[in-house]
Amino acid sequence: MSAEVLRAPGTTSGQWLRGAVLRNGPLGGLVALVVVMAVLSRDFLNGQNLLNVGVQASVTAILAFGVTFVIVSAGIDLSVGSVAALSATVAAWAATREGLPVWLALLLGLAVGAVAGLLSGALVAYGRLPAFIATLAMLSVARGLALVVSGGSPIAFPASLGGLGDTLGGWLPVPVLVMAAMGLLAALVLARTYTGRAMFAIGGNEEAARLSGIDVRRRKLVVYALSGLFAAVAGIVLAARLTSAQPQAAAGYELDAIAAVVIGGASLSGGSGKASGTLIGALILAVLRNGLNLLSVSAFWQQVATGLVIAVAVLLDTLRRRSTR
């Protein structure tokens, strides 16, 4: 996403406009979508509704921040939905069924997410499995373990964690705050840490990274562990909103997360991606769902619309890349 700001001399305003749209693809798309929804539905631009959009985006966005790390390093993580459910289930099981202190249960849930990611990472880095296969396996294993731990039925989430799904001061939803915090953390990791910079190098050219002294395999472990950790946070936020940890929660969310990352401008072939882009991608998906709900569009057509938005977003992004090369 290193948009070229060079404006060649002699371009017409039409070309400039086209260039501007292409350069700011994801953000421009979000703004356009918001404008369209605001025009079509009177209820859309009201403060309460916009906060709702934020809450709806939060779980997808937190998952997607984690997946951004993986995609930047040219991998893929299909397991985040299952890992989110497993982490929340373990946290709820530890607190509610085993009576552990809530903070310890919470830590345990986060650790489970990180370990699940670490295992996927080990399969990818040391077992040389394709990331698609390793995380597909983890998708199944984590979901299965969530069902085993819970016995197949929801576990009440500890009341003291209910605040995570609630609002601050009666209006500011905590999930939105958590999303913002995790987004800042992801941006920091990507831009400023050794692991983050190594992700871009590995995703851009793994062999060149290795021959420049990057410890590729260890970095991959960290990348997938981070993805698992972010998934655990997302799972706990979701459970707090639903006031119970459900072993079947977040099924299919991994695809929303991947879609958000890609809409945000990351390339599936690795080497590019931004936390801000991923946030915009998650918001685009949430605005679309929320707006279509307000317009009483059927859930069936919503799926069609979501698919089209993903295709158009990535198409625009491909054009943008071609024009700036």
Binding site: S2, Y194, A198, N205, A208, L211, G213, I214, G271
Partner: protein
């Protein structure tokens, strides 16, 4: 195959034999004027050399002829008629074929399948007629003198053979204009001779060949006329008999005093690298490396010469820890390096500028700053956080020192010319604090100006007490820049030459000697799939 009835020699009237004519071609991209008035005329039955530094516009011109770019101004004429080449299909229909530096072959398919991809002969039932396919493929392979079965998977071929397959493919399309983009860059001297034989045969059959090379000595050997490009303009058209000095002057617009400005040290420094008994089994049963032993001293440039596939790259990669080896020791300052550990090698002060610049040296879509600081990323990190400001400063310093020509450190490495890309790879090792720099084909595909800058840098490094191990298939270069030349053949070190004894003939004799007595006269070529 063409409308030309006889074999035209030099000096026939251009009008009668002219195949292709470019008039005043110009092309701009945002921020750059890539072509700014190029005239070129290609006759049937001539080898026309296109000469120019990287960035002079050769690639753009070729892309214009193969349907990738369209000219903003100017005309392209084929047989005197103006044509528009909008796509690769248009170029194919006009009989223009291009052999790119990167081959367009499918590794998993056989030679025959690649040759007739998308237009395989069919039986009456619509199935692929394997027998006809193989007969036709075999005939084409004979024309390019490639001794390989049409049923061989392309994956198993060496670079020189892949190139022959590409040429055969062009022939099967009845190409009348054949554009060859630096075909000799990846070939050894023996392979180059084979290629020249094929090109001469094509010329005799009336094909017009547009030949791009950076090797000046090839021009007189093969070419008829030369068009020199500089800064997007065609600055001169001269006969191929023009002297090298004149060609260089035309190409760079100034005189290059000396091509190989090596300053040899008076006294050799302290021993730095000591390699003993380096041995590694090869993929095909024979050894990739066999008992390789040598020393490199501080301040020295040691050349590693030999045919492609002789094991030079394998030595470099083994030293650097990029590949494991089965036996032997590598010591720096008397301390042994662990096998297969790039990071340990880097800590000891080794750096590798790999042969495959784009595939192994650079992260093409990352910024110049990120590429330059990649090998010292861990050093710029404190408590997990990278000091981006320090990185910026370091990158700016080294880019200025290496005279990298770019509009900014945020540009991606992909946007640079080959010479400037190579400077980035070298700069990466300067920033990593390299003491022994291994250069594997450092000037392949790089223009004369950038070459000399890289040679100067080698001098600077060795003057500061570093050592350089230089692998090169360009004999004048490896002889001109090295203080000693080690010659390898079939995985062994077969000789060491220094001073007046180091001549091209002496190197070649050592390099090919083990191949004598080998019944297979293609062995030199087949060795290339190891490299």
């Amino acid at each position: 195959m063409t409308g030309v009835d006889d074999v035209p020699g030099r000096g026939t009237t251009p009008v009668r034999n002219e195949l292709l004519r470019i008039e005043g071609a110009a092309k701009s991209f945002p921020g750059v004027r890539a072509l700014d008035g190029v005239d070129l005329s290609l006759r049937a039955g001539e080898v026309h050399v296109l000469l120019g530094e990287n960035g002079a516009g050769k690639s753009t011109l070729i892309k214009m002829l193969s349907g990738v770019h369209r000219p903003d101004e100017g005309r392209i004429l084929m047989d005197g008629r103006e044509v528009a080449i909008r796509s690769a299909q248009d170029a194919e229909r006009l009989g223009i074929a291009t052999i790119h530096q990167e081959f367009n072959l499918v590794p998993g398919l056989t030679v025959a399948e690649n040759l007739f991809l998308g237009r395989q002969p069919r039986t009456r039932l619509g199935l692929i007629d394997k027998r006809t396919l193989h007969t036709r493929a075999a005939a084409l392979l004979r024309r390019v003198r490639l001794d390989a079965s049409p049923a061989t998977p392309v994956r198993e071929l060496g670079i020189a053979q892949l190139q022959m397959v590409e040429i055969a493919k062009a022939l099967s399309l009845d190409a009348r204009v054949l554009i060859m983009d630096e075909p000799t860059a990846v070939l050894t001297s023996g392979e180059v001779e084979t290629l020249f034989g094929i090109v001469r045969a094509l010329r005799a059959s009336g094909v017009g060949v547009l030949f791009i090379t950076h090797h000046l000595q090839e021009i007189a050997a093969l070419g008829d006329r030369v068009t020199v490009l500089r800064d997007g303009r065609s600055v001169a058209e001269v006969p191929a008999t023009a002297g090298e000095d004149e060609l260089i002057r035309l190409m760079v617009g100034r005189d290059i005093a000396e091509q190989y400005p090596r300053r040899r040290p008076d006294t050799p420094g302290a021993p730095l690298l000591r390699v003993r008994g380096l041995t590694r089994a090869g993929a095909a049963g024979g050894p990739a490396l066999q008992d390789v032993a040598f020393d490199v001293r501080a301040g020295e440039v040691v050349g590693l010469a030999g045919l492609v596939g002789a094991g030079r790259t394998e030595v470099a990669r083994a030293l650097f820890g990029a590949d494991r080896y089965d036996a032997g020791t590598v010591e720096i300052d008397g301390r042994p390096l662990p096998r297969g550990d790039v990071r340990a090698a880097m800590r000891a002060g080794l750096g590798l500028v790999p042969e495959d610049r784009k595939g192994q040296g650079l992260v093409l879509d990352a910024s110049l700053q990120d590429n330059l600081t990649l090998a010292r990323l861990h050093r710029d990190t404190r408590a997990g956080f990278v000091d981006r400001r320090a990185q910026r400063r370091e990158a700016a310093e080294v880019a200025a020192r290496l005279k990298v020509r770019t509009t900014g450190l945020d540009r991606s490495a992909r946007t640079l010319s080959g010479g400037n890309q190579q400077k980035i790879v070298i700069g990466k090792w300067l920033l990593a604090g390299v003491r022994l720099l291994i250069l594997d084909e450092p000037t392949r595909g790089i223009d004369v100006g950038a070459k000399v800058e890289i040679y100067r840098l080698v001098n600077e490094l060795t003057a500061a007490g570093c050592a350089v191990l230089m692998i090169s298939s360009d004999l004048p270069e490896v002889l001109g820049m090295s203080d000693r030349v080690l010659v390898m053949a079939q995985g062994r070190l077969v000789g060491e030459l220094a001073g007046p004894a180091a001549t091209q003939d002496a190197v070649m004799e050592l390099a090919v000697r083990p191949a004598h007595g080998n019944t297979n006269d293609q062995s030199a070529m087949e060795g290339s799939d190891v490299g």
